[in-house]
Amino acid sequence: MVGLMAVAVIIAVLPLLLILGTLVAKGASSLNLAFFTELPVPAGETGGGVMHAIVGTLMIVGTACLIGLPLGIGGGIYCAEYPGSRLATLTRFVSDVLNGTPSIVVGVFAWTWIVASQKHFSALAGSVALAILMIPMVTRTTEEMIKLVPHTLREAALALGYSRWRTSLTVVVRTTLPGIVTGSLLAVARVAGETAPLLFTALGSQYLSFNLDQPMAALPLVVFTYATGPYEEWHQLAWATALVLILVVLVLSIAARFATRRKFTQNG
C-alpha cells in the first residue's frame, strides 16, 4: 500500500519535474542579462530580450489585482459573514460556474464589451479579463479560509463590545490573512500564465509600453508568438520566455511567503 502511494506521488510530481527540467535544459542557455533588460530585435538578428513583456505582464496582472482582489476578497468576506443570505448563495453559485468557464470565453467577453466598443485593443481590457478570472477563485478561497476561524474567537470579540464588522475585520480576517494572501497569490499565479484571454484584448506588442489604454506585450503572448513562429531562434526565445514566466510566478510565491510570515512564533 505504501509502495503504491509512493508510485502515485512520483507520477503526480513527475510532470512538474519534467516541465521544469525541459524548460531549464532548453531555455536556460538563452538567459542572460540582456534578455531581461532589452527589447526584441527584428527576426533574423540574434540577441535582444523580453523586457517589454516582463513589464507588460507586471502591469496587466497588477491592474487585474487592483480590480479583482478587492472585489474577490470583499465577496468572500460577505459570503462568510452572511452565509445563509440569498446574495451569498447566488455569489457562490456564480463563482462556481465562473470558475469552470474556459478562459477564452472570458477573453471573448472582454473583447465584445471593451475592445469592440472602444474600437481598439488595450492592456486594460486584458486586465479586466484576468480580473474576471481571479474574482471567483479569490471569493471562494477567502470564504473557505474565514470559515476555518473558530466561532469562539468571533464570540470573544463580540463579547468585548465589538461591532460585527469590526469583529470580522480586526479579528476574523486578520487571523486568516495569511490564508487569504495565499489564496490571492494562487489566483495571481494562475492568471499570470493565461494566454487566451489576452490574445484578443492586450494583443501583444513589440515595444515597451506603460499605457494601459494601448496594446501591451505579456510573457504568455510572447511565448505563443515565438513558439508558433517559423524561426529556430524564436523557438529558443520561447523556451527562455516560458522559463522566465515560471520564475516570475515562483518569485511571487516566495515574496508572499515572506510577506505573510507569522509575526509571532508559537513558542515566543
Binding site: L153, L158, L160, N267, G268
Partner: protein
C-alpha cells in the same frame, strides 16, 4: 453576610432557539460583589441563561428571548440599549481560552479598550497593567508583553482572557465554565482569582463542577430542564437543599 444591592436581575426570562425553549421563565437577582454559581446537568439551560444576560444569546441563529433582564434596574433589552455598549458593561469569559492569535499579550488585554470611549495611550498602558495584575498574570508576563498570546500556557491564556474582560471595567463578569479546559493548577488559580475579583465586580459563574461551586460561590442556583429549581446561599443549598431534585443532583444521583 450583609444584604447587598441587586446589580443584575431577570424577570420571567425565557430563552429560545427557534421553537425550542432552552430557559423557562426564570426570575432571579444577583447581588453586587458576590460570586454567584449556576449549576445543573448538561443541557439544563444555564449557559443559555448566562448568554441572555449580555445579549450574546441573540447572536446565535434563531436565538430570542421573552421577559426582562435588568441591569441596575434598567431593561437591557429595551430598544434604547445598544448591545455593544451593554457588552462592555457585562463582560464574559468563555469555556475555552480565546486569546486573539494575531495580537500580542498587551494588545489582547487592550482589545476591549480600543472600542467605545476614547482613551489615551498612557491610559491604555496603565489599564492593561492593572487588568493583568487583577488577573494575577502581571508578574508572569510583564517582561514579554509584546509576545504572542499563544506563547502562554492554557491556564495563563485563560487568565489573559479574564484580564481582557476586566480591563474595560465592566460591572458584571460572566464566566461560562472557565476552568473546564484547564488542569487542576490552572483551575485553582482561576478560583483564587474570583475571591479578589468579587471585591470589584459582580460575578456569575456557570460550572459543571459542584465542588467548584461550593468552593467559590456565595450563592448558588440549580437549573434543571431549562427551569430554575432552587436558589439560595451556597452553604445552605449544599447542606440542606429545599427541593428533592437539588438534593438528588448534588449528591450525584443524576446529571
Amino acid at each position: 453576610m450583609a444584604e447587598a444591592t441587586v446589580r443584575i436581575a431577570t424577570e420571567r426570562l425565557s430563552a429560545m432557539y427557534g421553537k425550542v425553549t432552552a430557559v423557562k421563565d426564570v426570575t432571579l437577582g444577583f447581588a453586587t460583589n458576590r460570586v454567584h454559581a449556576l449549576i445543573g446537568p448538561s443541557g439544563c439551560g444555564k449557559s443559555t441563561f448566562l448568554r441572555s444576560l449580555n445579549r450574546m444569546h441573540e447572536l446565535t441563529p434563531g436565538g430570542w428571548i421573552t421577559g426582562r433582564v435588568l441591569l441596575d434596574g434598567r431593561d437591557v433589552y429595551s430598544s434604547k440599549v445598544n448591545p455593544m455598549q451593554l457588552r462592555r458593561r457585562v463582560g464574559m469569559v468563555f469555556q475555552k481560552p480565546t486569546p486573539f492569535p494575531t495580537m500580542s499579550i498587551f494588545d489582547n488585554v487592550a482589545a476591549g479598550l480600543r472600542v467605545g470611549e476614547k482613551r489615551s495611550r498612557s491610559e491604555i498602558a496603565e489599564t492593561v497593567e492593572q487588568a493583568l495584575q487583577g488577573a494575577a498574570l502581571w508578574d508572569e508576563v510583564k517582561d514579554r508583553l509584546k509576545m504572542s498570546a499563544l506563547a502562554l500556557s492554557g491556564g495563563q491564556q485563560q487568565r489573559l482572557c479574564v484580564a481582557r474582560t476586566i480591563a474595560p471595567k465592566p460591572e458584571v463578569v460572566l464566566l461560562d465554565e472557565p476552568t473546564a479546559s484547564l488542569d487542576p493548577q490552572g483551575t485553582q488559580r482561576i478560583e483564587e482569582l474570583l475571591f479578589t475579583l468579587k471585591q470589584e465586580f459582580t460575578i456569575i459563574i456557570v460550572t459543571h463542577n459542584m465542588q467548584q461551586a461550593a468552593r467559590v460561590s456565595d450563592t448558588t442556583t440549580f437549573f434543571y430542564l431549562g427551569g430554575m429549581v432552587e436558589t439560595g446561599a451556597t452553604r445552605q443549598l449544599f447542606t440542606s437543599p429545599a427541593r428533592e431534585e437539588t438534593e438528588a443532583y448534588i449528591t450525584g444521583r443524576f446529571g
